[in-house]
Point group: C2
Chain length 239, copies 2
Amino acid sequence: MALKLYVHRASQPSRALVIFCKVNEIEFEEVFIDLTKKQHKSPEFLEINPMGQVPAMVHGDFKLFESHAILSYLASAFPKVADHWYPSDLIQRAKVQSVLDWHHSNLRRGSVTYTFNVKFAPAFGLPLNPQAAAEGEKVLSESLSKLESFWLSESGKFLVGADKPSIADLSLACEIMQLDFLEEDDRKRILGPFKKVQQWVENTKNAASPHFNEVHETIFRQVRAMAKKQQSTGEKSEA
Amino acid sequence: MALKLYVHRASQPSRALVIFCKVNEIEFEEVFIDLTKKQHKSPEFLEINPMGQVPAMVHGDFKLFESHAILSYLASAFPKVADHWYPSDLIQRAKVQSVLDWHHSNLRRGSVTYTFNVKFAPAFGLPLNPQAAAEGEKVLSESLSKLESFWLSESGKFLVGADKPSIADLSLACEIMQLDFLEEDDRKRILGPFKKVQQWVENTKNAASPHFNEVHETIFRQVRAMAKKQQSTGEKSEA
């Protein structure tokens, strides 16, 4: 049964899905949805996901969106996925579910609000918004603090004290990686104080090697090239 | 194994948990956490939920927070809970998970932002905020529109086309019920255009009868009595 993932690698949940499938050797077709060309609002894509967002999935004739729902579906639908990704043990699964639910209104909301308003808005024809960025940074920093002091407080190398990564580690670590798009000073100011968070991102990279780094490197290269082009165009038009 | 739910019935996810347990005849102790007295930030409660929010659960010695994680845990941990609440069928479960994930940044975010900033803020010593209320109403109305046009577009009486309710119906219907705290004009303006949504809330009330109404009536009575008392105190102090 064919599996298609509709993604843009600048989207952190899109990357989590692509990495998950690669690490678990699940065959899939990666369908690129160009957000800067508003392909996620096209009639064809709205047939796949009426909310007009990436990522989305089609497996056979089953359409699904929301990255956490897709990750738990794939972990359950493909028997070769090791149990630690989405534990069958009730208590372990509930812990993973709890961190995934917490993520929505905390780390994800802070990170998206901040990075969009200091970096990505112009690519979507919108101005940067310093006030929204400041509100986003507050939520982001509080969330990183909770990650450091609570979700990573147990002895294991991964979230909720696990020895091996779950879909929550992939989802949240891809969110943190979004900070690599920022200016180095901003990234250091925000992430610098949180040593356990930094070590856990490294642990997740290693556990999902080499795919975690490969997937991130392709998009970082593209975004840097695009920024350079924009800068050079800007300099020419000023000259 | 003892089950304790730490709740305040003015909290919509707290109500969803209480109703779920009552409907499914799961024995539990309801521990009242008085949000207006900041009991959710007390050292004792932070031992239960370090995020300082209701609801939270303790089952034996297992502590859990985030209402969706608790609902799916309870549906799985108590064999007498009928399958439709959290379907074991992979595709049906993925659909329920998708609507639960969507809820966080859409219906819930809009409803909480709006109701807090037009109604509840003073109970927490904060001023009403018309600008935040307007932003909340926008997200809320867009979410109600997606409920009407997408999540309730299939033939069943419940979300994602189901014939019987799931934990998602309880969670989202309790959110909609929060609008009953508003002035009647505000409630009608916001909810009036969405006939399918109104019918689905009725379907959910009926499916979870009599507990759905009982749980809501106790808190509506309390909040109305509190508002009357505040009004009468205000009139006396103005006299």
